[in-house]
């Protein structure tokens, strides 16, 4: 770039204090390239010595126009865009999308597919929380956490590779079911994970939960009360650490979550330590759901038999003319959805992942809005870091667990 623009404080006059205008406090950029911002996030900080007076987050460095791109694709093809959204929660994004499409076109899903969806999304939740635990440990100089967490996450990604062929960009759930049935090795792989994981969570806890250094750096930091959290649209573990008992899996069950017995951990402190404890407890609860869903997993088809929306199996195409026609129609034109709008939401590891999906009667959506939890969760940051040290800002930022792909879309 040839032009280097002088950034003047005048542009941010309404966001900083009077003292910044006289030069008494300092304005400092943190990011966009900074290891502790968990991606390309820029924070404009107003500092009084080491104390944060104001924090102005600047997002959009990872904006890729996913919503616009989805409008130009058929309902089946638009699904691959959702993987790229929140790259720590690919299965969960697929789930949010297919649940929304199924609601729009009113499609049934067989019980086995529902069970598989629950198992894989909960494994994804564990994997996502593990990345969070590892990286936020790293932010607080707990180097070994990162290595241990990624060891277990790798095991989950191997399971994903087993079922979908991909470690991260899975696109395994499809409207009406899942891509194909899981291989025979799937059950053993998940059982192995269920066997080792509870012990590993205890190990993580023994490293951090009672560690005086960790407690010093987390307790009482970044306090957020329930009412403010709701006003800022904060959801997920961050909201539940502020004393609000709200989990879409319990409140509005989807994919048969009502069959499983699990607790929603809620704490009242609303600080960084409470958010840590809530997520650790969620690791255990998610594992409980995985185990129950695996024990209950019924046999049967994994895709809906509604041929107007779900392509027929390969074996039918050779012998049935109708199957061939359906296959051809679905892969050239796609299926049409009614001219109507729905909003559906699922609980992602970060909170309420909602989709506003509007059809125009044709095979492409008129509007797909992704209500991503990180976006709203980050907007509360400027409120909860005021008066804290810069070093603590890093801890607070990592405690709300943002993923920049989820924010910028």
């Amino acid at each position: 770039m040839s032009q280097i623009e002088e950034v003047s404080v005048a542009k941010f006059k309404h966001l900083v204090s009077e003292r910044a205008l006289t030069g008494e406090t300092m304005l400092l950029n943190m990011g966009p390239q900074h290891p502790s911002t968990h991606g390309v996030l820029r924070l404009l900080l107003e500092l009084d010595g080491e104390i944060v007076v104001n924090c102005i987050p600047d997002v959009g460095y990872l904006h890729t126009g996913i919503e616009k791109n989805m409008e130009a694709k058929t309902y089946q093809k638009a699904e691959v865009m959702t993987d790229r959204l929140d790259y720590m929660n690919t299965m969960g994004n697929n789930l949010a999308y297919v649940v929304a499409v199924e609601k729009l076109i009113d499609l049934d899903v067989p019980a086995r597919a529902q069970g598989l969806r629950v198992i894989l999304t909960e494994l994804q939740r564990i994997a996502s929380h593990l990345v969070w635990l590892g990286t936020s440990g790293l932010d607080l100089a707990a180097m070994s956490m990162f290595l241990y967490c990624f060891r277990e996450r790798e095991q989950i990604l191997d399971i994903f590779e087993l079922v979908s062929g991909q470690r991260m960009m899975t696109t395994y759930f499809r409207p009406g079911g899942v891509w194909r049935d899981v291989p025979v090795e799937f059950e053993k792989a998940v059982r192995d994970f269920i066997k080792i994981f509870p012990k590993r969570v205890d190990e993580y806890e023994s490293l951090l939960t009672k560690n005086p250094l960790f407690i010093d750096r987390t307790v009482g930091l970044g306090k957020l009360d329930g009412a403010a959290a709701l006003s800022y649209g904060v959801t997920g573990p961050t909201l539940r650490a502020s004393g609000v008992d709200w989990d879409l899996r319990k409140a509005r069950p989807y994919c048969g979550y009502e069959q499983y017995d699990f607790k929603v951990p809620v704490l009242n402190d609303g600080d960084v330590y409470a958010r840590y404890l809530v997520r650790i407890e969620e690791l255990r609860e998610s594992l409980k759901i995985v185990e129950q869903a695996l024990n209950k997993l019924p046999l049967g088809p994994v895709r809906s038999a509604n041929r107007k929306f779900v392509p027929p199996p390969r074996s039918e195409i050779g012998v049935s003319m109708e199957a061939l026609i359906h296959h051809f129609k679905l892969w050239t034109e796609g299926f049409s959805a009614p001219q109507a709008s729905i909003y559906s939401a699922v609980e992602s590891p970060r909170g309420e992942l909602g989709l506003l999906l509007e059809g125009d009667g044709g095979p492409k959506p008129l509007r797909v809005h992704l209500r991503t939890p990180s976006f709203d969760n980050l907007s509360v940051l400027s409120q909860i870091v005021k008066g804290h040290l810069v070093a603590d800002l890093v801890a607070i930022l990592s405690s709300i667990d943002i993923v920049l792909g989820d924010i910028d879309r």
Partner: protein, 170 residues
């Protein structure tokens, strides 16, 4: 529609003359732009809709009156209910009063709509673009904003396209 939601919808309909659309058990209330702050205040203070789950817009181009719908998805945690309020806006200099004083989340979400659709929010505390660069022209999620505007650059036509590219040159 949920049984518990019916009286709430009825109150809004009677008070503001809102029209109702129903689809797959969802209730969508259409109100005028100048009423939106009152509707949201009523729903938040009297009916416990504590959270504004989603705030976005839809573009119905080439239709012009109304061209946009601004969509407010409200959630009540206490009653476990959801209701959607929609505000139709015309295509020429679209403007809606801000909801940022009622729900803090509206601050960033309205900036996103301003950025993506060019709908202005009257009285917004911080009306800047949020996702795209501040010097960008146009609003990407409008239907008349082309997708794939840039011609792909290959080895054989690299220089030719490079000349036409709008980025800053020495």
């Amino acid at each position: 529609m949920d049984k518990k939601l019916e009286p709430i919808v009825k109150t809004v309909q009677e008070k503001f003359g809102a029209s109702l659309e129903e689809f797959r058990n969802e209730a969508h209330l259409l109100v005028k732009p100048e009423q939106i702050v009152d509707v949201l205040t009523l729903l938040r203070d009297e009916q416990n809709f504590e959270m504004l789950s989603a705030l976005t817009a839809v573009d119905y181009y080439p239709q012009d009156a109304p061209r946009f719908h601004v969509v407010y998805q409200l959630t009540s945690l206490a009653k476990n209910l959801s209701v959607q309020v929609r505000v139709p806006v015309n295509g020429s200099s679209p403007k809606v009063p801000t909801a940022a004083r009622l729900y803090d989340v509206a601050n960033w979400r309205e900036r996103e709509i301003l950025d993506m659709f060019g709908i202005e929010f009257d009285g917004h505390p911080d009306p800047r673009r949020i996702l795209s660069p501040e010097d960008m022209e146009g609003h990407p999620l409008r239907k008349d904003f082309p997708l794939g505007y840039e011609e792909p650059q290959f080895t054989f036509n690299f220089d030719e396209i490079d000349l036409l590219k709008p980025y800053a040159k020495e």
